[in-house]
């Protein structure tokens, strides 16, 4: 569904913060939802050496949901004392990497956009979701369902909100960002269940 939304504010006039309030149909806040803003034109690419960490703790991935810009190296430090064998069959990155106890594994480069679902060959309850997007403007919601995209340059954007860990359907909105508007707004987003 597409909704045109009002202009948003910030101290600068050439950019604005986008604050969202993400809830389910019953009004409960949704944690671990990712939000990203795709500009109408080209977004700046990821700086060389951009990296993030997805850890393995007590046979779970931490964090469970991540979002990175294409070109990011992901490190899997394996804080568990036992080995893991991480893999994905998602088209954006098909790979396996062994994480041995006491040995540091090489990072994995994610350079194609898409959603990557991670699993472990050894511990089949382990699952994580990794979004790879073509924009540096993204964030993840906390337990209160609130999230802010900071300093988005003025312009038109498609904002996508996704929460796969809870089984919600992703949602897109079109937003015009204009920092010269004085009134701050928190955009409510309701996600529906289903795939």
């Amino acid at each position: 569904m597409v909704a045109s939304l009002a202009l948003l504010a910030s101290a600068a006039t050439t950019a604005a913060d986008l604050a969202l309030d993400i809830r389910d149909a019953s009004g409960n806040p949704i944690a671990d939802a990712v939000v990203y803003a795709l500009p109408a034109g080209e977004a700046p690419p990821a700086r060389a050496g951009t990296r993030t960490v997805i850890d393995q703790v007590d046979k779970t991935f931490v964090p469970r949901v991540s979002i990175v810009q294409a070109g990011t190296q992901v490190f899997f430090p394996n804080s568990d004392n036992i080995r893991h064998s991480i893999y994905s069959f998602s088209p954006a990155k098909i790979f396996t990497t062994k994480l041995y106890s006491g040995r540091e594994a090489a990072p994995v480069l994610f350079d194609k956009t898409g959603l990557v679902v991670l699993g472990c060959n050894i511990h089949d309850t382990m699952v994580a979701w990794l979004f790879i997007v073509d924009t540096p403007w993204f964030a993840r919601s906390g337990t209160n369902g609130l999230v802010t995209l900071k300093s988005i340059p003025n312009g038109e954007y498609t904002i996508t909100t996704a929460a796969p860990a809870g089984g919600f359907r992703a949602r897109e909105m079109h937003v015009l960002v204009d920092g010269s508007d004085a009134s701050p707004v928190r955009i409510p987003v309701v996600l529906e269940a289903g795939s």
């Binding site: 036992i82 679902v117 699993g119 060959n121 309850t125 382990m126 796969p164 919600f168 269940a193």
Partner: protein, 157 residues
């Protein structure tokens, strides 16, 4: 035993409620199964070949994974993966013609702090499972002799 990158055995099933806004685009590469007919004269054939070995391996893992003394190492572990790899390893070690594609015993057990009691518990479970499947005494003992040196790579790591 040869060391290779572990091949992916079986599809992961996502059982989390409401999960999976996405599905896997393709199945994992197929594991090469153990042979239908065991090479003549091999210990593998004297153990009973693929159907018997697969059977007593499954029985052994099910038993230890349920046993109060040993089950901690199997918490959240994909038991089918363990069974596939152990069957493949026994097949490779006993002349069955398989290529073992799993990790070394050291890498598999590192960090688990397996005790002597747990190790011997698994050996006992294996012995009993083979007996229940009517594996002859000589073949049972030969397999256990082959596996015994692994203790130093399994215990207290």
């Amino acid at each position: 035993m040869s060391i290779r990158n572990c091949r992916l055995a079986g599809l992961l099933t996502l059982l989390l409620a409401g999960a999976s806004a996405t599905s896997f685009a393709q199945a994992p590469p197929a594991r090469v199964p153990p042979p239908a007919i065991a090479p003549t004269g091999s210990l593998y054939s004297r153990l009973g070949g693929t159907s018997v070995v697969t059977g007593f391996v499954a029985d052994t893992i099910d038993k230890v994974a349920a046993s109060p003394e040993m089950k901690r190492s199997f918490d959240k572990v994909n038991l089918q993966h363990v069974k596939d790899m152990l069957t493949e390893q026994i097949c490779a070690l006993t002349g069955g013609g398989c290529l073992y594609t799993g990790d070394t015993m050291r890498d598999v057990h590192a960090g688990h702090h397996i005790t002597d009691a747990e190790f011997f518990g698994l050996v006992e479970a294996l012995r009993e499972s083979m007996r229940n499947r009517h594996v002859p005494l000589a073949a049972r003992n030969q397999l256990l002799e082959i596996l015994a040196p692994m203790k130093r790579d399994v215990v207290k790591l």
